[in-house]
Amino acid sequence: MALKKISEGAEADIYGVDFFGIKSILKYRRPKPYLIKEIEEPLRSARTRSEARILARASSITKAPRLLFVSKYGIIMEKINGINASEKKGLGLNGASEAGDILSKLHAANIVHGDFTKANLIFSNSDSSLYVIDFGLSYNSNSAEDLSFDLLLFKRSVTRPEYAKFEISYSRGFKRSKEVFQKLSEIEKRGRYQNRSLDTAE
């Protein structure tokens, strides 16, 4: 298996690998040399396990990379070749609508993505549809508050028209959407998020 480092994320390194003929990604959680072993080892392995589990479920219900292999600190998954929505071309209205569809399916399955921004959405070259990646911060929850944080983050990363399109398809796909929108507006009214919402997004 030939390894080639593609990028360095906040806590993991991403390598391109050939996994039995499938073009894949290896996501390896780096050691954190500044933390004591008793904290960092359980943290890394628990996060790896949890991410793998959620990725497997996510890819069975919506457009997300397929899980191929899991080790203690590493995950091998299908590589989505395409254009990242945070690049120049942007997400666009159709993309925003697809994003709403993706998130509605994750939320209906009680999956909070945890980092649902443009940077984690890719237009695939192979079937030209939108894929969601990086479940590194994902967790299971059905609380409207937890779910609303995905919307908050997404809202901050896109334009107003894109967000409006997103809202339409999200509410079509998720029957508790009203509850989540309600929570979102509550959260936005809390002091500490006022200056961190839409207007400060680029």
Partner: protein
């Protein structure tokens, strides 16, 4: 020409004097916190009876006369209302007598700016940790120049959490620094670890630690709560650092005095080849010098202050402050 700054947001009444970014004086007196904690009105009384003395002390140690003071600044907030009020009144009175302008300063901006200044790092990522606050911030220009909060505690500040724990563990005095002392020979017992992206929460950790005191040695629980809390802050800071591609970190605020927190953040920075800076303790604890320094920046930057802005604000968010005077 120098600027005199007054800090009185909590238990410290401090007066600093800054001239061309040089700190000429940093005098302070601290209200003695007993086991009962801080009663705002008592602290305010303490400040009121010490204000004159600390101002004179600062002037004497700077070795200048009042005729050389060109502006006054004071802490507008955040902080305890009655305490802030004393500093504000002292500033307004002094300014009127000297016939010089007054500048209201955000307490957090004071901590960050003075540390930035001493570090020599341009636009670093700031880890600001104190009793009531725990935030990771950096200066951004849109929609106006301000400190953007990349991540922060979603419930209580790390300092208050450690103080609360110290009280529950019957440590005396009930401060974070006592927790650090007790923790020295402790070993790790499992604790909940909650980082959500670049935000974190402390109440779960606190509740769990207090419960674990029933069946574990105090030194182990103290070590574990401290280690876990600081690790969470360091991890959030690491994420913010990598996402913003900022390769300079400064640590400031009262809890920045913690040797262990300094050690963890320094190691984190080094592991990415980044710069790390923490100021001497007199600037991490609440102090007047930082208020004087920011006052001087505002004065020189031609900041215009309306009379109606010369108030106090108990909840004065750092990201509301327009830094365009800088």
């Amino acid at each position: 020409m120098a600027v005199l700054g007054i800090e009185s947001s909590a238990h410290t009444f401090g007066v600093g004097i800054s001239e061309n970014g040089k700190i000429l004086a940093n005098s302070k007196r601290m209200y003695n916190i007993t086991a009962s904690g801080m009663i705002p009105s008592r602290v305010a009384e303490f400040h009121a009876s010490n204000a004159k003395g600390v101002i004179e002390e600062a002037m004497a140690s700077a070795g200048i006369g009042f005729s050389e003071i060109s502006a006054i600044s004071y802490t507008k907030g955040p902080g305890l209302g009655p305490c802030l009020r004393i500093g504000q009144l002292a500033a307004l009175t002094l300014a009127e007598r000297l016939n010089v302008p007054v500048y209201p300063v955000n307490h957090a901006v004071g901590h960050i700016k003075i540390t930035e200044h001493l570090s020599g790092i341009k636009d670093p990522l700031a880890v600001y940790v104190s009793g009531g606050n725990s935030q990771i911030l950096g200066a951004v220009d849109k929609p106006f120049r301000h400190y953007n909060v990349y991540g922060e505690t979603l419930d209580i500040g790390v300092g208050n959490m450690l103080d609360n724990y110290a009280r529950a563990a019957k440590l005396n005095p009930a401060w974070g620094s006592t927790v650090a002392k007790v923790a020295e020979n402790g070993s790790y017992v499992g604790m909940p670890y909650t980082v959500k992206g670049m935000d974190f929460t402390f109440t779960g950790l606190l509740t769990n630690a207090i419960k674990m005191l029933e069946s574990n040695p105090v030194k182990d629980v103290s070590y574990s709560i401290q280690e876990t809390a600081f690790s969470m802050i360091a991890e959030a800071a690491e994420r913010a650092m990598l996402l913003t591609r900022n390769n300079g970190i400064i640590l400031c605020g009262g809890v920045a005095q913690s040797k262990r927190l300094q050690e963890i953040l320094r190691a984190m920075s080094l592991s990415h080849g980044s710069k790390f800076f923490v100021a001497p303790n007199e600037y991490n604890a609440d102090n007047g010098a930082m208020i004087a320094y920011v006052g001087e920046l505002m004065h020189k930057g031609g900041k215009r202050v309306k009379e109606s802005e010369l108030t106090i604000m108990q909840r004065y968010r750092v990201d509301e402050v327009d830094l365009s005077w800088h």
